[in-house]
């Protein structure tokens, strides 16, 4: 298995972390994932968009937590102890994503990734950069940059 992943690397394959939000399966690039942790209570942020659950203390850093379901236009999750937070780092920004469960780590070669099907103006569609059809399920590759909350500067507020 390890060997195979190595091979995948040389052919430009991507490693993805797959996770579930409600009934749907998603995945994101493993290089973006810093850690995965259990749900902890958040501190609410006033005047925040509904998909921002609040902020948590991640070893001294203040990290906002995004309810991915709500962000993607799905039914918002009711966070419980069983839910999982994926801490992702993109550039200088660290953000936590609340998901239902993390399922797997996959090595996917580019040929397996299809462009997202055009399904009209669905809220989710803009956040998907590709899909992977495997056996009986469909994995949606998240465009993390699009999902991230935009950093607001004081001037804009």
């Amino acid at each position: 298995m390890a060997e195979q992943i190595e091979d995948d690397h040389s052919t430009g394959a991507r490693e993805l972390v797959s996770f579930a939000i409600g009934e749907q399966d998603f995945c994101m690039d493993i290089m973006l994932v810093r850690e995965i942790r259990g749900w902890t209570n958040v501190t609410m942020l006033p005047h925040a968009p509904s998909y921002i659950l609040g902020v948590i203390n991640l070893r001294g850093a203040v990290v906002p937590i995004v309810d991915l379901a709500s962000r993607l236009g799905l039914t918002p999750l009711e966070p419980t102890q069983r839910h999982v937070i994926i801490i992702a780092v993109l550039g200088n920004q660290t953000v936590g994503f609340l998901v239902s469960a993390v399922s797997d780590i996959l090595g996917i070669s580019p040929s397996e990734i299809q462009p997202p099907p055009k399904v009209g103006a669905d809220a989710t569609a803009g956040f998907i950069e590709g899909v992977i059809a495997s056996d009986d399920r469909m994995l949606r590759i998240l465009n993390i940059a699009a999902v991230l909350p935009r950093i607001q500067m004081p001037e804009e507020a």
Partner: protein, 726 residues
């Protein structure tokens, strides 16, 4: 090799502290000038710092520093001896020398060639100060090493008599002195691995040493506690080194042993000549023969000892008070990671406590008390670690004082530099990043702000311009102000220049404040001629962007003929503040304590309705609008009865008062500010976040912005209030 580098590195770190102490001392001397009440210990302290730098530099072969500090030291020695008055002119030279010494040290640290071109004129100036008498000793090259190394075996306390060449150079050098030193060691001295005999050996290197142990305190064998030191020592040292050198020997055991140094004038010293000096020195030189009896010179010492005890006592207590406070320099990343780890520790502690109580074993006395101890220890660690990051702005201000000195010299203007709030603590990173913008502003203030002496006199002002640098915490922000008493901004000229440079339209209608802000436009420079100091066209816009990067704001206020003030307001990001921890609809929040004027528990009679929802409270005849923070932040949808809440009375920078309603006040504590902006962005009404003892995040309220937010929601308060307030 690398360990030598390490030691060298340590020396340079030490130099930083010494240079700071040097600047401090010079500032003290300067401050005491008008009253003339100069504490001689201040000059002593200044002398010691230069001397220590010289000593350290010598051991690393930093010739330039040694040579320069020697001249410097000689002048200070003269001043110490009262031969040189500490007047304004002399102090200025000394300050310049201190600056140059800092440069030399910096050059030495960077392994660069020292700037000897600057040394020369300064040395010449110093030599000019010394006069003929001291000049001889200011030429260090010819003076034989004053502290000869012990050549013989360390164990042998008797040394071959030193041939003391009494050339003309030595006339100003101190003659042989007899010192009586009483040493009482504490148990800690031995516990930390010190050994008095090494100290005594080192002393023996300074001159002739007699050591006697006082065994009177020794108890019987049965009652003897091995760890307790019972011995005391009385030492007699005939040396031509100064008292500082003796103190230096004891430097490392400063707090561990009581060391009393008393100078005993040998009777022969009055008629000092080559023969009598060596005679006085030879008197106590036979330790083995005299150790049983009282050494002979002691009686002499008792007689002449009547005079100096006062100074000796003063000397003994002085180093504790004036000595440089010892500090450690630590990598900032290390501190940050420490803060975070300690944060985790505290969370871990509360989790553990929780688990124990769930397991129903917390009631057991031993577990309970251990847990309590763990908790208090963890909190103590957290508190001390938190205080590591903050630093007073003192060093920054000292640095700026130098900028002012140099700038005023180049600009040919006489400037009085005042500082205020040196103890204001700001995060270290912020301090570092303030250096450049403050330098710019100060240079501008002197170069552009202050008028020339003639025009000042013509305007009826004193010839000397004043520039003031101040720092303070204000409503949760750090405020740094640079103000001058110069001519103020020439708005007409600023407008013309901006227009001619095409920065604004020729017919633009601008308010005074808007014109002032033109100074911050990139490429704006008011001086027609490019000067050495400022006016390269890169100026205030650079300041503005540097401050913005810190999340701060720069503002200018200027009054024609009376001066200009630049205010830098920095957010709390990275800084530490005293906060009031409050509960707002179940959420823990922090209000900067500086913003809170008072807390009020309102009674029904004080509170009045305005319209359907807005409320005001009567505070000593003024009506203050109430902002329910729970509502303002959307934590609850309907307001509670005000009488159930606690009101925090705050005042904004514009002097408006607001009452912030919170559910209850939980605590008051110092908190470290964590930025929200890096990972999330700005939240209206929130200045930053902090991490509480239990690892939870609490938001720090920006009272100013909260009030502004509320103001937008409320009908214009002022006129209505008076109407209702009757």
């Amino acid at each position: 090799m690398s360990s030598l580098d390490d030691i060298k590195q340590m020396f340079f770190l030490e130099c930083d502290e010494l240079l700071e102490a040097l600047n401090d001392g010079l500032a003290d001397i300067e401050a005491s000038m008008p009253t003339g009440a100069l504490d001689p210990e201040v000059i002593n302290a200044v002398f010691r710092t230069v001397h220590s730098i010289k000593g350290g530099a010598a051991s690393f072969g930093l010739e330039a520093i040694v040579r320069f500090s020697h001249c410097f030291e000689t002048v200070l020695d003269q001043m110490r001896a009262g031969k040189l008055p500490p007047d304004a002119e002399n102090i200025r030279i000394l300050q310049r020398c201190a600056d140059h010494l800092a440069d030399l040290v910096a050059a030495g640290r960077a392994d660069q060639a020292p700037d000897t071109a600057t040394s020369e004129p300064l040395v010449a100036q110093l030599n000019g100060l010394i006069g003929d008498e001291g000049r001889a000793s200011a030429e260090p090259v010819q003076v034989p090493e004053p502290e000869p190394e012990p050549e013989s075996d360390d164990d042998d306390l008797s040394f071959p008599p030193l041939a003391i060449p009494l050339g003309p150079e030595d006339l100003a050098a101190p003659a042989q002195m007899l010192y009586r030193i009483d040493v009482t060691a504490s148990a800690e001295l031995f516990a930390t691995g010190h050994e008095p005999v090494h100290l005594f050996r080192e002393l023996a290197g300074l001159g002739d040493l007699t050591v006697r142990a006082d065994t009177a305190g020794l108890p019987d064998l049965e009652t003897l506690v091995p760890e307790t030191p019972y011995l005391r020592w009385r030492l007699e040292l005939a040396t031509d080194s100064g008292e500082e050198d003796i103190r230096e020997v004891f430097e490392f055991v400063d707090t561990l042993a009581t060391v009393n140094i008393e100078q005993v004038e040998p009777e022969t010293s009055a008629t000092i000549g080559p023969a009598s000096a060596s005679e006085a020195a030879s008197a106590p030189r036979n330790p083995s023969a005299e150790s049983e009896n009282t050494p002979l010179p002691l009686t002499a010492a008792k007689q002449s000892g009547a005079a100096p005890p006062k100074t000796a006592a003063a000397e003994a207590s002085a180093p504790a008070a004036k000595g440089p406070k010892s500090t450690v320099r630590v990598d900032l990343d290390l501190v940050d990671s420490l803060i975070n780890i300690v944060g985790e520790l505290v969370i871990n502690q509360s989790v553990l406590t929780q688990s124990f109580s769930e397991a129903n074993v917390a009631n057991r006395a031993d577990i309970g008390s251990s847990l309590d101890e763990y908790k208090s220890l963890a909190l103590q660690i957290q508190e001390s670690v938190m205080s590591l990051r903050a630093q007073s702005v003192k060093q920054l201000f000292q640095r700026m004082a130098r900028i002012v000195r140099e700038t005023s010299e180049v600009a040919g203007k006489s400037v009085q530099f005042d500082t205020e709030g040196e103890d204001t603590e700001i995060d270290k990173t912020v301090i570092e990043r303030l250096i450049e913008p403050l330098t710019h502003i100060l240079r501008n203030a002197i170069d552009h702000g202050l008028e020339t002496a003639e025009s000042r006199l013509a305007a009826g002002k004193s010839e000397t311009g004043t520039v003031c640098l101040s720092a303070s915490h204000r409503s949760g922000r750090v405020l740094i102000e640079v103000s001058d008493d110069g001519a103020g901004i020439d708005r007409k000229r600023v407008f013309e220049i901006a227009a001619s440079k095409g920065l604004i339209a020729q017919d633009a209608q601008l308010s005074e404040a808007e014109i002032d802000r033109l100074l911050f436009l990139p490429g704006f420079s008011t001086k027609a001629a490019v000067s050495d100091l400022s006016g390269r066209g890169v100026g205030m816009d650079v300041v503005q962007s540097a401050i913005r990067k810190l999340g701060g704001r720069v503002a200018i206020t200027s009054a024609p003929g009376r001066g200009t003030t630049f205010s830098i307001s920095l957010p709390l990001t990275l800084a530490v503040l005293d906060g009031m921890v409050v509960d707002v609809a179940g959420q823990t929040m922090v209000v900067p304590i500086t913003a809170v004027l008072e807390t009020i528990r309102p009674t029904r009679d004080d509170v009045h309705m305005m319209g359907s929802t807005a409320q005001v409270i009567k505070v000593r005849d003024t009506l203050v609008p109430i902002v329910d923070l729970g509502l303002a932040f959307g934590y609850r949808s309907c307001g509670l009865t005000v009488t159930e809440l606690v009101l925090l009375l705050i005042e904004t920078e514009q002097g408006e008062r607001w009452a912030l309603a919170v559910d209850r006040i939980i605590d008051q504590r110092q908190v470290v500010i964590k930025s929200l902006e890096g990972n999330y962005g700005h939240v209206p009404g929130v200045a930053a976040a902090t991490i509480l003892g239990d690892g939870k995040i609490a938001l720090i309220i920006d009272p100013e912005e909260t009030a502004q937010m509320a103001e937008r929601d409320l009908p214009a308060p002022a006129p209505l209030l008076t109407a209702i307030g009757e």
